[in-house]
Amino acid sequence: MSQSNTQRIDSLENPEAWQTVCEQQDLVSNSGVVVWLDGAQVALFYLPGAGGRTLYAIDNHDPQSGANVIGRGLVGSIKGDLVVASPIYKQHFRLEDGSCLEYPQQRLRVWPVRLNSGVVEVGVA
């Protein structure tokens, strides 16, 4: 059941529309900030030195604590995956697809995201 709902989303896909959310200079290197996107809270992680994708957009809501804190988590890599650790109970989410390393039932929404001449754009369906 859950398999069919899952789809891989990354910046290479073409969303229906790109929405500007903030300036590039609002981002903090190797760390996260949060933007408001029409009622959703989206955490943006900017990793200029990580060697792969440099920008990720992931849900700011931590399902375990119920608090909106993911954007304030520490980023790192675990066994090759870039992850963010929730600052409250420290479970890890893959930045790439929002899946949780410790609890498969927890999964965060991710958005396509890109840098476009100095502004950050998030893909909306």
């Binding site: 959310v21 903030c22 609002d26 903090v28 290197s29 190797n30 760390s31 900030v33 949060v34 933007v35 408001w36 809270q41 990793l47 030195g49 990580a50 060697g51 809501h61 604590s65 119920g66 608090a67 909106n68 804190v69 304030r72 988590g73 520490l74 980023v75 790192g76 890599s77 675990i78 066994k79 870039l82 992850v83 650790a85 600052p87 409250i88 420290k90 890890h92 039932q105």
Partner: protein, 853 residues
């Protein structure tokens, strides 16, 4: 979907009545063993919330809320095929129709498991009602006790057994003067012998709890000084404001009696070795069951029954229940108590060794069999470090050493331990989940080389947690035995220990994480283990502002935002109040800020004021105002110097012999901003009365007529440890020199997140070695340690003042970088005149699922 319906129809219905610890474990085990392929599962619970941890019930009074006591994941009961009916007591069982009847209707069953537990026994005493007839079993009972305690001064517990002493501890936690009244001539008559009871009484009385033995309450009447008077024989009496009965438990077998199941002579549903009752479709487990006439009031045997029944219902071979070892190890009112096997030495021909230390009220007894070769039982009061070894000797019939007494005698190396290699394969390591050394070995053979993974695979150490030390020893021993070197790497990015990384940073003068990772690590990102650890090392060595661009991404969230994140994502703010000394103007300034930002305000244990409920974007404004009023950051968020608590000392106190406040100020000013492997707490007392509680701190200073006594490596919190006397009658300069050296030596050699207490215990050579290094400078490190400390002191700068000067650093202090609104999901409610976060229960996060039959 149609195929699903077809399968559903073939399913039988299994009902579990009771959602206590044992009932819950049974459900877990059933689901794990695939019971949902055969059964639809209904669970009925009388209580309004899902299963919670009764073993740690008293923590409800020391701050844990109901949700955090809940067992397992709430999602377990949302598994398709499982229905949990909360607040739905079963009124009747109709065995002929195989139905259970609740107020909501009937549900038919094919198999039924009774896990209704027990209820507290209250002897019929004239006048016992309301607040003079409280009990201690459920969260509701605790709420009633809390309500009764709110305007009470004194509380009495009737019953000096294990639960009675737990209840007395709860009363003490609520701030009452606590008394225990016991009918028998000693405390814990089941688990302890005469001397054990005496030692426990002495220890508990030292803690200020009144103990009254051989007293039976005959009636309760109105009191004169307190609300009630308990009348004993010989015109003796004791007055009190509330009475909690904890005089034993009785099996909750009302349903069994109603439907005429066979019930034991002393209560309890009679079960056989398979936990089957007199009706083959009905099983009983836990405290409601009587096996061989006995009721087992501990979690481990209850879990054992739950596992057996779950296996049986899933058509697996179940190990028959053959009684249980009632050995137990606890901390009652902070006093270690252990009882193993035949504690009373009632086996014919048995002989005992006893050790009594009246100065510390410690007692140990070892009971051996007639041949003198095997342990039959033991009693421990005051020090449970002997427990694990003695239990292994008994459970596994390991041959005693030539001098059995050595197993209970004090020795400078601490309690004797049985090497993990000496344990047989069948030895039980974790008794909650019945995990043997053999199953640990086979998990390791199956490729498990990670302790965390081992715990989740075998469930070892996931019950009461008491076997953590033994499990780690067995694990490491077995790994080494298999030729696997025990990996002490920090994480996958650094194949070094914290201590090794510290040395590399020092020697090579590394100042950034990137540099260390490039030279000595792997990958180019790091993780949430190595980043904060390296961040802390860099701060300990070089003390650069932690908000510098290269350091920000290393910090744990609290350090990044220089505030303490609370459970709803808001922060608390703690300005430094050195030595706990504060002027009226500064107090007013804090009040003004708290009022302006509507912050919940609480006095901390470290003589400061904590301001709760600030949102991220409010932090810079709050700090600008606090700094304007002359405050500095209190580093409450860091693994760093926290507070230096002090008493008023000789300036005001008629007993004080030194100016403890001045010394506290000197110490706090010197070490504020020092980052270390873990937090550091200090205290200075102005005389030997020790009002600042310096002996529970990492560094404690107590004034003497001639100077200062220095204590080190104490700890409060979860694992309290008295600090050890390190040096006496020091002058001010020598005191500071020793503290400099001590702290820097700790920072240099401790593991990550290791408090000074644990570090000190792990030091080879112990306290004498440490004295040699610090006082006699045996390693020739003294000056180096002092100059390293001086560098950190010289570079001190208030981090908040530094951050406020730099717009770039303030960029992150925005809830949304593209919107000014606050987080709309943060909600508060008013309580006792201040606001607090709304609780899960108030948001109805605990799901109640009901089915209309």
């Amino acid at each position: 979907m149609n195929s699903n319906v077809a399968t559903l129809n073939k399913l039988q219905t299994l009902i579990v009545i009771g959602n206590g610890m044992v009932g819950h474990h049974c459900v877990e085990q059933l689901i794990e063993r695939g019971a949902l392929d055969h059964y639809r599962l209904h669970v009925f619970s009388e209580e309004p919330m899902r299963a919670y941890d009764r073993v740690h019930l008293s923590e409800y009074f020391s701050g844990r809320d109901a949700e955090s006591l809940a067992l397992g994941e709430a999602s377990l009961y949302q598994t398709p095929g499982v229905t949990l009916h909360l607040g739905a007591p079963v009124l009747e069982i109709d065995r002929a129709r195989r139905q259970v009847i609740t107020a909501q209707g009937c549900v038919s069953y094919d198999k039924l498991v009774l896990a209704t537990g027990s209820y507290p026994f209250v002897p019929p005493i004239e006048g016992a009602e309301g607040d003079s007839r409280l009990v201690y079993r459920t969260l509701e009972d605790l709420d009633a006790i809390r309500a009764a305690a709110s305007n009470a001064r004194r509380g009495v517990v009737v019953g000096g057994g294990l639960l009675g002493l737990e209840a007395a501890n709860a009363l003490k936690t609520l701030g009452l003067e606590a008394h225990v009244v016991e009918f028998a001539p000693r405390l814990m008559p089941v688990q302890l012998d005469e001397y054990g009871g005496l030692a426990l009484k002495a220890q508990i009385e030292r803690l200020g709890v009144g103990v009254h033995l051989s007293r039976g309450t005959q009636s309760i009447s109105a009191g004169e000084e307190y609300r009630y008077r308990m009348n004993f024989a010989n015109d003796e009496f004791l007055e009190t404001d509330l009475i909690v009965f904890s005089a034993g438990i009785r099996a909750q077998d009302a349903l069994a009696r109603q439907c005429s199941l066979e019930v034991g002579p002393r209560g309890g549903v009679v079960i056989d070795d398979q936990c089957q009752s007199s009706d083959p479709n009905i099983y009983a487990i836990g405290e409601c069951a009587a096996w061989n006439g006995s009721i087992f009031g501990l979690v481990a045997p209850g879990y054992q029954m739950a596992r057996g029944v779950a296996a049986l219902l899933c058509n697996e071979t179940a190990e028959p229940f053959m009684g249980a070892d009632m050995s137990t190890k606890l901390k009652l009112l902070g006093v270690d108590v252990g009882s193993i096997g035949d504690a009373h030495g009632s086996t014919p021909g048995s002989r005992s060794y006893q050790f009594i230390d009246e100065t510390t009220a410690s007692y140990r007894r070892l009971v051996v069999d007639a041949t003198g070769k095997h342990v039959l039982g033991a009693v421990l009061v005051g020090d449970n470090s002997y427990y694990d070894t003695l239990l292994q000797y008994m459970q596994n019939a390991i041959a005693l050493p030539a001098e059995p007494a050595s197993l209970i005698l004090p020795s400078s190396e601490g309690a004797p331990t049985l090497g993990p290699g000496a344990l047989p394969e069948a030895a039980t390591v974790c008794s909650c989940h019945n995990v043997t050394k053999g199953s640990i070995c086979s998990a390791i053979d199956g490729g498990c080389t990670d302790l965390g993974l081992l715990k989740s695979q075998t469930k070892a150490c996931t019950g009461c947690g008491g076997c953590a030390g033994l499990l780690k020893q067995v694990f490491e021993h077995e790994l080494i035995a298999r030729g696997v070197s025990v990996d002490k790497s920090l994480c996958e990015h650094f194949a070094y220990t914290r201590q090794e990384l510290y040395a590399l940073v020092r020697v090579e003068g590394v100042i950034t994480f990137e540099e260390l990772l490039a030279k000595h690590g792997r990958g180019h990102t790091g993780c949430d283990v190595c980043k904060p650890a390296v961040g802390s090392i860099l701060a300990s060595c070089w003390n650069q502002p932690i908000m510098d661009a290269s350091l920000v991404p290393l910090q744990d969230t609290n350090d990044t935002f220089m505030a303490n994140m609370q459970k709803n994502g808001t922060y608390s703010v703690v300005p430094r109040i050195p030595g706990g000394e504060i002027t009226a103007d500064k107090l007013i300034a804090i009040g003004v800020v708290a009022k302006k930002y509507d912050l919940y305000t609480k006095i901390t244990g470290g003589q400061r004021i904590d301001l709760f409920g600030a949102q991220l974007h409010e932090l810079p404004d709050i700090w600008a105002e606090l700094i304007e009023a002359g405050f500095e950051t209190g580093h409450a968020y860091g693994k760093s110097t926290r507070t230096v608590k002090s008493c008023v000392g000789s300036t005001w106190c008629r007993y004080g012999v030194q100016d403890s406040v001045q010394m506290a100020l000197t110490i706090e000013d010197r070490y504020k901003g020092l980052r270390s492997p873990h937090k550091l707490k200090f205290a200075v007392s102005g005389c030997t009365r020790e009002c600042a509680e310096a002996q529970s701190k990492d560094v404690g200073v107590i004034a003497t007529e001639k100077g200062w006594n220095l204590y080190i490596a104490g700890n409060g919190g979860m694992r309290p440890r008295h600090a050890e006397l390190f040096a006496t009658d020091l002058d001010d300069a020598t005191l500071i020199r020793y503290i400099d050296r001590f702290l820097m030596f700790y920072i240099r050699t401790a593991d990550k997140l290791q408090r000074t207490s644990v570090w000190r215990e792990s030091l080879e050579g112990g306290l004498d070695y440490l004295k040699d290094v610090i006082i006699n400078d045996s390693l020739g490190l003294g000056e180096e340690l002092e100059s390293q400390m001086q560098l950190v002191v010289n570079r001190y700068e208030c981090e908040w003042a530094n951050a406020l000067k730099d717009p770039e650093k303030l960029k992150r202090f925005r809830t949304f970088v593209n919107d000014k609104r606050p987080d709309p999901d943060i909600h508060f409610v008013q309580e006792r005149g201040q606001r607090r976060p709304i609780m899960a229960a108030e948001l109805n996060l605990i799901p109640v699922t009901e089915e209309i039959a």
